[in-house]
Assembly symmetry: C2
Homo-oligomer: 122 residues x 2
Amino acid sequence: MFIEIDFNSEEAFYIQLRNQIIIGIATNQFREGDTLPSVRQLAENVGINMHTVNKAYSVLKQEGFIRLDRRKGAVIALDADKLHAMEELEENLRVVLARAVCKGVAEEEVHQMVSEIFREMC
Amino acid sequence: MFIEIDFNSEEAFYIQLRNQIIIGIATNQFREGDTLPSVRQLAENVGINMHTVNKAYSVLKQEGFIRLDRRKGAVIALDADKLHAMEELEENLRVVLARAVCKGVAEEEVHQMVSEIFREMC
DNA sequence: CAGTTGTTATACTATGGATATAACAAAAGA
DNA sequence: TCTTTTGTTATATCCATAGTATAACAACTG
């Protein structure tokens, strides 16, 4: 799995890391039980500070995507709190879709895009 | 149209304003040509500073949702750059859906949610 | 034993969010 | 004409966050 930082992006480094890892899990490049690189290792690989990686991992733990093990490090472990995930999804979709609707994107086009993205996942 | 600030939210005030106005446009509470409240007026109504509202309006202009007129103020005016909107939508959906997929949300459930949200818009 | 792990603590810089005043030209209303 | 309101611009300040830099410690690994 390739993780890399876009240093020109306005998105915070730890958010970029978080999102890429979540997409990695969704696309099955990381699976339940797999171990992520150590904070020092990943930090060196992508060229950022150790604490920034640590923050990304902390957020991922707090959001229920990984478990932080003293001996194994960061392990993929999903909490599967589906109700909470659905609520969060709806809030996010409402904003994201509103932006698209204003610019003339049709419902059918959204459904197609959703199907296409799901084809890459699971 | 009710615009209000959640002072406990972690989201920046100007982002909250931006999102609510965009949703307002998408749900037809604001229509092309309608005028938004003046920066001073809206600032007083929702209880925040004038410059924060000004920033929200600047972002909305830069993103192609309103036009800032010397005489009329902030006027709803969509640039309808659909190609750009589609690209942005796909990027956003990829992250948002990945989070949901990890927590066990099924494709069919997403389609239903999209349809439901579209029912509130247009 | 040496090296690596996660973890915690502290300190510093830079940036961004939010506020507070202030001022100005242009437009609107009386 | 006078006053008010408009958008706009310019400073300045305060605080939180992002990112980096060292450092140290206990626990696990080889």
